[in-house]
Structure formats: structure tokens, C-alpha cells
């Protein structure tokens, strides 16, 4: 199947080979503190004793994706072999996880800037001779001015195709302080992706307190997306920026269907509270929100998942992802088989090609589709 179906993998995590590699891109004033923090991140990643979160399997990595040296995702040859050759992925959207939610937003913004410069040099430059990698512009949402600067700096770089923020922000994303970030993204035709990240501290908080187990935490990734989606719709961000697209990465797929039902239900009662919405919330979500597949829900009867996808009106809303090189990686072949055949190619390739501006491989158009996003 992989031989014939082109695949865009919308969730792939490259990593620096060593802390030094990323430190080279940081201004001097951050070297000391961030160096310590980065070393901590590396210790965590290699599983050598310091892990402030939960016991993810093999320090969160696919065991066979750990290179001889350095963390998972840091060896370009291994990634090419396992992802592009063995798994049959055509293009990969890269999301570095060097930037976890940090206590100090200025540091986080500095890490974002360093990561972007590093990604451009290495994974979108030196390691991208084949042209099959695209990157995400990491920004710190809680320093909006710096975030907009980063977007302006990298938007014209061919390799960057989206803006990336973590869900662990200080507030819900519909609040006005974040609007300039989304405005900048929309201005450049860049979707905004949100990717879950594990961090110690408050970001492990659920609405009812702290979770006790990694098992408990992982299925609850979805909880991070509920408030952001409602906030973005109800605050009118989507209404004001109709070309803005939001990609919810690694938070599940099927939950969005009943959530849209609930939002639409209350629109009847509370619509007058948000008069800038001229359509039911689900209309904005269907047009402007996309979700990635991994980790794809697996009901015993696959047709139940298909029903949810059908009720969702998901034709344009779903993007395929593997999460390589992480332990909860979804291999393309068995995963794509679980998706309805009528939309399989859309999910595997077409939706992402459209969203991220890949040339149409069918040959009918050689020009990038960006920023002519789905209308």
C-alpha cells in the first residue's frame, strides 16, 4: 500500500545531536541558564536518571529509533531509513520538541529562536538535500512580540510551512494578547499547529488536579485542546481571520465530533453573548481546525471510528501523522488501513498538501498551493 500512496507525515520530531548543537544558536546572555536546562533535557531524553515527568516507555522513544549517539530523532541517516524508506513517508512536517513550556517566557522565546535557526541550518538545509522535510516556526505565545518577529523572520523561508505553539499557554488562545500571532500567521498563509509537550509542573494539571500515572496523562492530551478550540471560536479569532487554520497535533480525532455537537447546542441559548459569530461554532471548526491521526483511536469495530469521522464531516479536517520517533508511533500501513477508503488518500496526503502548500504531485499543477488554503 505504501508503494502507491503518497504520505505526508504531519508530526515528526527531529532533535539536536547534543546540547552544544543548539547552544551555538543562542545569544550569550542565555548560555548559562539554558545550557543547564538543555543538559537536563538531554539527560531526560537519554534516560540516564533525570526525568521529571512520568515513566514513558524507553524515555519516550521507539526503542529501535535510538541512534548509537544522541537522542532519538537526532540522526538524519536513521530518520531517512526508518521514516522515508521503511515507513514510506513522502514528506515530513518537522516539529522539534526542544521548547517545552517553561516557567520564564523570555527564555522560552530565546529557545524558540535558537531552534528555528538550528532547524533551518540542519534539517531544512544540510539534511534536506532530498527536499522532503518541512519545518515549523516555533514561537513562545506568551511573548507575542517575539513570536511575531520569529514569524516575520522565517515566513519567507521555503522550508517553514507552519507556526508552532504549545498548548500549555498562560491563557486560552482566544484572548486578545495572542491575536497578533495568529494575525501574522494568517498574513503569511501559515497554519498554526499546537503540539502537546511533556513538562514538569503545572502543565500536568488536569481540571481536577494532578494525574498520578503516565497512563492517566497520555489519553488526556485531548483535554488541552478543548478550552483552546472553544476560546478561539467564541472569541471570534476564526471569524476575524477566516484564512487562519489551526492544526491540533496528537490530541486525538473522534472527540471533536461530540464537542461540536455540544458547542452548537449552546449556541442556540448563548449566541447573543458572542454576536460576532454569524454561524454555528461547528462551521468555524470544520473550516478552520484540523486534527492529526496519531494516536488513532482503535475501537474494536473500526466502523465505529468511521461513523465518528463521518459525523464530524471530516473530509478536509484530518491529517495523517506518525509521531516518529516516539514510542507511540503509528506505522502508516496498519493505520491507513483503519481509515475509510474513500478518504484515505485525502487524510494521507491531499489535505496536508493543500494546507502546507506542497506542489500537486498528480502533475496538474507545479505551483505550491499555499496560501490558497481550503475555502
Amino acid at each position: 500500500m505504501n508503494d502507491i500512496l503518497p504520505i505526508i507525515d504531519c508530526d515528526v520530531h527531529p532533535a539536536p545531536k547534543s546540547p552544544t548543537e543548539l547552544l551555538d544558536y543562542l545569544p550569550d546572555r542565555y548560555q548559562g541558564k539554558l545550557a543547564e536546562m538543555l543538559k537536563g533535557w538531554f539527560r531526560m531524553n537519554r534516560g540516564t536518571g533525570v526525568f521529571t515527568g512520568f515513566g514513558a516507555l524507553a524515555t519516550g522513544m521507539r526503542r529501535d529509533a535510538m541512534p548509537e549517539m544522541g537522542p532519538g530523532g537526532s540522526d538524519p541517516a536513521l530518520m531517512e531509513q526508518q521514516l522515508l524508506k521503511d515507513a514510506g513517508v513522502t514528506y515530513a512536517i518537522l516539529i522539534p520538541l526542544t521548547v517545552t513550556g517553561m516557567a520564564n517566557p523570555e527564555h522560552e522565546a530565546a529557545m524558540c529562536a535558537a531552534t528555528n535557526a538550528w532547524l533551518a541550518d540542519k534539517w531544512l538545509g544540510e539534511y534536506n538535500k532530498h527536499g522532503r522535510y518541512r519545518g515549523s516556526i516555533m514561537v513562545c505565545p506568551d511573548v507575542p512580540e517575539a513570536a511575531v518577529e520569529e514569524i516575520e523572520r522565517w515566513a519567507k523561508h521555503d522550508g517553514f510551512v507552519q507556526v508552532m505553539i504549545p498548548p500549555m499557554a498562560r491563557s486560552a488562545y482566544g484572548l486578545p494578547q495572542y491575536f497578533p500571532i495568529f494575525e501574522a500567521a494568517a498574513r503569511h498563509g501559515l497554519p498554526v499547529g499546537i503540539h502537546i509537550n511533556r513538562t514538569p509542573g503545572m502543565s500536568l494539571l488536569s481540571p481536577v488536579g494532578f494525574v498520578s500515572y503516565y497512563f492517566e496523562f497520555h489519553p488526556q492530551y485531548t483535554l488541552y485542546y478543548f478550552p483552546h478550540v472553544a476560546s478561539l471560536v467564541l472569541s471570534g479569532v476564526f471569524a476575524r481571520l477566516p484564512d487562519l487554520r489551526f492544526v491540533l497535533v496528537e490530541g486525538g480525532v473522534s472527540w471533536l465530533t461530540p464537542y461540536m455537537w455540544r458547542l452548537d447546542h449552546y449556541w442556540q441559548q448563548f449566541g447573543s453573548e458572542v454576536p460576532w459569530l454569524d454561524r454555528p461554532p461547528s462551521d468555524y471548526i470544520r473550516k478552520q481546525v484540523l486534527v492529526t491521526t496519531q494516536p488513532l483511536e482503535r475501537p474494536k469495530e473500526t466502523r465505529r471510528l468511521h461513523e465518528y469521522l463521518d459525523w464530524m464531516g471530516s473530509e478536509h479536517m484530518v491529517l495523517f501523522s506518525t509521531d516518529y520517533p516516539h514510542w507511540d508511533y503509528d506505522h502508516p500501513e496498519p493505520t491507513l488501513k483503519r481509515l475509510p477508503s474513500a478518504v484515505r488518500n485525502r487524510f494521507a496526503f491531499e489535505n496536508a498538501a493543500h494546507l502546507y502548500g506542497f506542489a500537486d504531485l498528480s502533475g496538474s499543477s507545479a505551483s505550491p498551493l499555499r496560501p490558497a488554503v481550503v475555502s
Binding site: 524507553a58 514510542w327 508511533y329 506505522h331
Partner: protein, 115 residues
């Protein structure tokens, strides 16, 4: 068909070897002198299961208590961490999911796997 894996001394206790046999390869394991052979294919998602860690598993001994058991007898898939009993190939959590096992014995100092 009988496959000669290697000489017994080439597979000391605690080691493993992946044979280029069958469709996916066959992993041969030596656990403290006991030999096991399993298909290198995870029934969950097709991962090369024999590259996984050899470990143990837990069993509940009452609320909030658990004991570690079968240390060295559990093969944990390198992708999603499913646990399989090295001897039976059965998944610890869902025993209906089974990694194919092969009979294995020693003959004139050779480890022989029956495919």
C-alpha cells in the same frame, strides 16, 4: 524445516539473535539456558518485536501495591511497549494476541529452530 541458528556457545544466557528466516525473521533468545524462538513480528502493528527489551512485568497485590515478576521472561515491543511472554508468545494484557513461537532445541551443539 529445521534451521540451524548458531552454535550454542554463540548465544550465551541473556543474549539473542535474529535469524533471516520466514517472512519477518525469527528471534532466538537464551534466558538462563532456556531457549525460545519467536517471529520478529508484533501482532499489534507489525513492529520488529524481537528488537524489544527483555524485562519483567507487574502483578497487583492489592490496591496501590504491585509485585515485579517474570524478570527476564517478558519481551517488550520496541514500538508501543506491548508485553509478551517469552515462552508462550502471549500478550500479558490481551492473551489472545500472540507472537508466533517456534520449537527450538539443541542438536550436536547447534541451536535448531523448527519452522
Amino acid at each position: 524445516m529445521a534451521i540451524r541458528a548458531c552454535r550454542l556457545e554463540e548465544l550465551p544466557p541473556g543474549s539473542r539473535k535474529i535469524l533471516p528466516a520466514g517472512r519477518f525473521g525469527i528471534g532466538v533468545f537464551n534466558r538462563d539456558g532456556d531457549l525460545f524462538a519467536l517471529a520478529n513480528y508484533c501482532p499489534h502493528d507489525g513492529a520488529p518485536v524481537c528488537l524489544g527489551a527483555i524485562t519483567g512485568t507487574t502483578e497487583s497485590t492489592g490496591s496501590y501495591n504491585a509485585t515485579w515478576l517474570n524478570d527476564g521472561g517478558i519481551l517488550r515491543c520496541p514500538w508501543h511497549g506491548w508485553e509478551f511472554d517469552l515462552q508462550t508468545g502471549k500478550s500479558v494484557v490481551s492473551p489472545t494476541k500472540v507472537v508466533r513461537t517456534y520449537p527450538v532445541h539443541v542438536e550436536n551443539g547447534w541451536i535448531v529452530v523448527e519452522d
